[in-house]
Symmetry: D2
Amino acid sequence: MGKNFLDKIQKIKRGPAIMQEKDIGVILTNTSINKDSIVLDSGTGSGKLSAYLSQFVKKVYSYEKIKEFYEIAKDNFNFLKIKNIELKNKDISEGINEKNLDLITLDLLEPEKILIHAKEALKEGGYLVSYLPNMTQVIEFIKNIPKEFIVEKILENIERSWIVKDKIAKPEHTGLLHTGFLVILKKK
Amino acid sequence: MGKNFLDKIQKIKRGPAIMQEKDIGVILTNTSINKDSIVLDSGTGSGKLSAYLSQFVKKVYSYEKIKEFYEIAKDNFNFLKIKNIELKNKDISEGINEKNLDLITLDLLEPEKILIHAKEALKEGGYLVSYLPNMTQVIEFIKNIPKEFIVEKILENIERSWIVKDKIAKPEHTGLLHTGFLVILKKK
Amino acid sequence: MGKNFLDKIQKIKRGPAIMQEKDIGVILTNTSINKDSIVLDSGTGSGKLSAYLSQFVKKVYSYEKIKEFYEIAKDNFNFLKIKNIELKNKDISEGINEKNLDLITLDLLEPEKILIHAKEALKEGGYLVSYLPNMTQVIEFIKNIPKEFIVEKILENIERSWIVKDKIAKPEHTGLLHTGFLVILKKK
Amino acid sequence: MGKNFLDKIQKIKRGPAIMQEKDIGVILTNTSINKDSIVLDSGTGSGKLSAYLSQFVKKVYSYEKIKEFYEIAKDNFNFLKIKNIELKNKDISEGINEKNLDLITLDLLEPEKILIHAKEALKEGGYLVSYLPNMTQVIEFIKNIPKEFIVEKILENIERSWIVKDKIAKPEHTGLLHTGFLVILKKK
């Protein structure tokens, strides 16, 4: 497992917009998770975030409500030979079955509607990260955070790739100026 | 282990400049490592990168040549109750004892001098990441890369923390505009 | 005039937060102004933006409602030996006396309340730039733009200062990550 | 003049890479120039920087050694109805005819070779700005600065354009991550 993870993850089937390595890195390093953690990711999309999480934690539950994306993700996890993701074709707004989770990651619309379930499913001191492309969504999300959560950080990252070769040393001229904002909550 | 890792890591003793979460995230997501990986980190400094790596991989070897920093790192790993780091008060430029490593991370001057040892210590397809504050160092490093390695990426990250509260929604006015460049190599 | 403008502008008295060169540059290059232009700046604050505009256009009207800042700006314009700014201790929300303006710049709260006056004071094809620290303010401003205006651009700039000397070539580690958003409108 | 400068400048013929508004703004606000200034721009390229400078200063001399670009620039200045640019099909490395200049801007290879001429052509306290895409070029340039000049600033700018409309408030996802570094010198 994971021997050629990077090579393979670049070849997975793509459905919706896919999370970038820089943003996955922010999640890994700001949520106190480790090899023993149990996490939940929703919506799965093509499965890139779930696949990355599966490399570093014990167990990943992954909820995707749209059948088409669920099938893409299932194929991708098989292609990547990942065994520790339990993928469900399920709408997280209807509830979370798991308890005592270390982390919940949300890449979906109106994440504020999930907080009522998330606060039951997370363990004390557990984290929730919501990935949101729009600042309007961040503002709306922040307005609706129940008293059981603390807003730890709201982060965004601009990554530049440099070309250094012979007489050249410069950042690539064009690229991603924005992907999404990451709102990191901690359950009290 | 790790239950309050973030809370505790913020309280570790500090020696030299300490690596940021954003840069550690880039390392985790661009080097194909996972829970089964064996990695080597040098120079350890206060131990923050080694400590983070220890959360996500099987075993971390950590070399620090300066006795003072070695003692700080040892105290920090004890404080963090980390069991899977083998810390050595050792100068990596004199050689690497381990073989078949999945990843080597270098936060030290003249990393090009370590490549002769790194190519022996890394497994085929293994990664090496050099963290360098100066572009002059990146240029010098790139000039000296042996044929056994491929330059995968040269990355830098600007992270902004936003304040969203009541009528406020803006990035913090001051902060880090630069930490270091991350040069990611892969052994053929 | 202007011989040592940069040297002197760095020594002016400061009242409220002062606009940065990078943001003034965005205003100059995105509003079609030139040596023949007549512009209005409000609120003046310590007068830095008005002073810069005065170097490049024919005439600057500058409205500052707070007596204390008005006095600071007056002293600063005298110190800078600027003759083509007409400074008024006046609240722009009560109306604009001038007509046929080429540009109006607003560095004040609730700029949407000024648009009713601005549309009368600007010439056809004239520009209005609102400088706003918060994205919430940008959202509110955009909601209230009358049909006489087109939103041309909403810009923000991150500037990095590099240190290049001997073996060093790196951006300064700390600095400004955010100043404000610049909303550029054009009158139809 | 300049009534529709922005509309027109977007339609000029393009030869080589064209300078961005953000970078032109940095030049205008960091070199103490004003309506009375006499400046020299080389290489002209398609003439965008010269055209912008002509809006704000008294007189622009513009040197372009490549006949093809010289012709493009000539057409563009005619199209823009600019009268205060004196365009020459001339190689600046062979010398500068003008004296007592307030500013020299260089968008060309090996700008260090021009400094010997620039120090004669600039007035005391005058500025020189070199626009360089590569950090290697900046390093080489800085190494060769004669004692008659002070390095004032080395700047780069990342600009983001935001989309704010209805429920959307986010930066455009893709765009320019890098254009060039601006090295600003002042003659003692």
